[in-house]
Symmetry: C2
Subunit: 192 residues, 2 copies
């Protein structure tokens, strides 16, 4: 009797790929390594992801989901308080940075690995950062900021700075100070 196709195959492959891409970077990981780590055959991998580029984009899509999840968690922790939500978003993001093996924002890293603006991975990252900016802007506006775009930009700088600095200098660098910094900036931008 014919076996049914395993619906979890795609996720299982993606799990293995994500872990390797996160740890070592994209170019340093070969398809064979993903096969070895994921416990699936080459045939199956190429059925689910016809090319490495598509696998990379699927990985980035998964990474990018952390951002809306962050927004939701902030909403849950400070319902009806957009200013506090902004501070919570930064705080939660900084928490994720404190780990010893933190390598920086995976999307930013992928962007660095694929400089070609036409590359699907590159385009995906640009689009995600544009979306993130719009989200911060909307939240800043609801928080009653005088200049929502200006506040969103400043928080973007803090966020991206914490990610980059934390990747290199770790918890002993500037990253842990980002939360208090963001709070001060938010307070200053939303005071009557």
């Amino acid at each position: 009797m014919a076996r049914k196709p395993d619906p979890g195959t795609r996720d299982r492959i993606l799990d293995a790929a994500c872990r390797l891409f996160d740890e070592r970077g994209v170019r340093a990981v070969g398809m064979q390594q993903i096969i070895d780590a994921g416990g699936c055959g080459k045939n199956l991998l190429y059925r689910e992801f016809p090319s490495k580029d598509e696998l990379v984009v699927a990985w980035l899509e998964r990474c990018s989901q952390g951002w809306p999840q962050l927004l939701e968690e902030a909403e849950r922790r400070a319902p009806g308080d957009p200013a506090e939500q902004l501070a919570t978003v930064i705080g939660l993001a900084v928490e994720g940075i404190s780990g010893p093996g933190f390598r920086g924002c995976a999307l930013r890293n992928a962007h660095a690995e694929f400089p070609d603006p036409e590359h699907p991975a590159h385009r995906f990252v640009v689009e995600h950062y544009g979306q993130r900016r719009a989200d911060l802007c909307a939240l800043a506006e609801r928080a009653g900021a005088d200049d929502p775009e200006a506040l969103a930009d400043r928080l973007s700088l803090i966020l991206d700075g914490a990610s980059a600095n934390g990747a290199i200098l770790g918890p002993t660098g500037a990253a842990p100070t980002a939360t208090a910094f963001a709070r001060a900036v938010i307070a200053s931008a939303t005071e009557a």
Copy 2:
């Protein structure tokens, strides 16, 4: 008659390598491409740089010289005014970001490409960022900041944030706002 060894050989090779590494990233560039671009033979390249890793570190060393040059230029523009020097450093750095082909801090990009903490390129980047922090700290102290380390950390976040955000979103992102942001932070941290 034997030709004299060209003393500019090393620089010429390094010029070609730097341009390629800057444009495409390290892993995307092969030694043969550097040979083709630099107009030198393979044996000459490997005489000057016995391995690709050493060539990469030489590239990073050259990149890292931009930082002390920035400090010197700021000193030249605002002699005897450390607070203004801090602002100038950020301003000059942001200027370099505004170009359309900006790919982000080369050191940060290299750090992302070589996650292994033992890799010479990785170690070099960590050391450079540590040095940068110390420099900012010293300047913040001379500027009379209440908490020089805190100011240095905040400026580090703005600097790294501008670099990362500018690489992805370019001049239409948050990077151009970094200079005014830094000025506000410096003013707030150094007022009597």
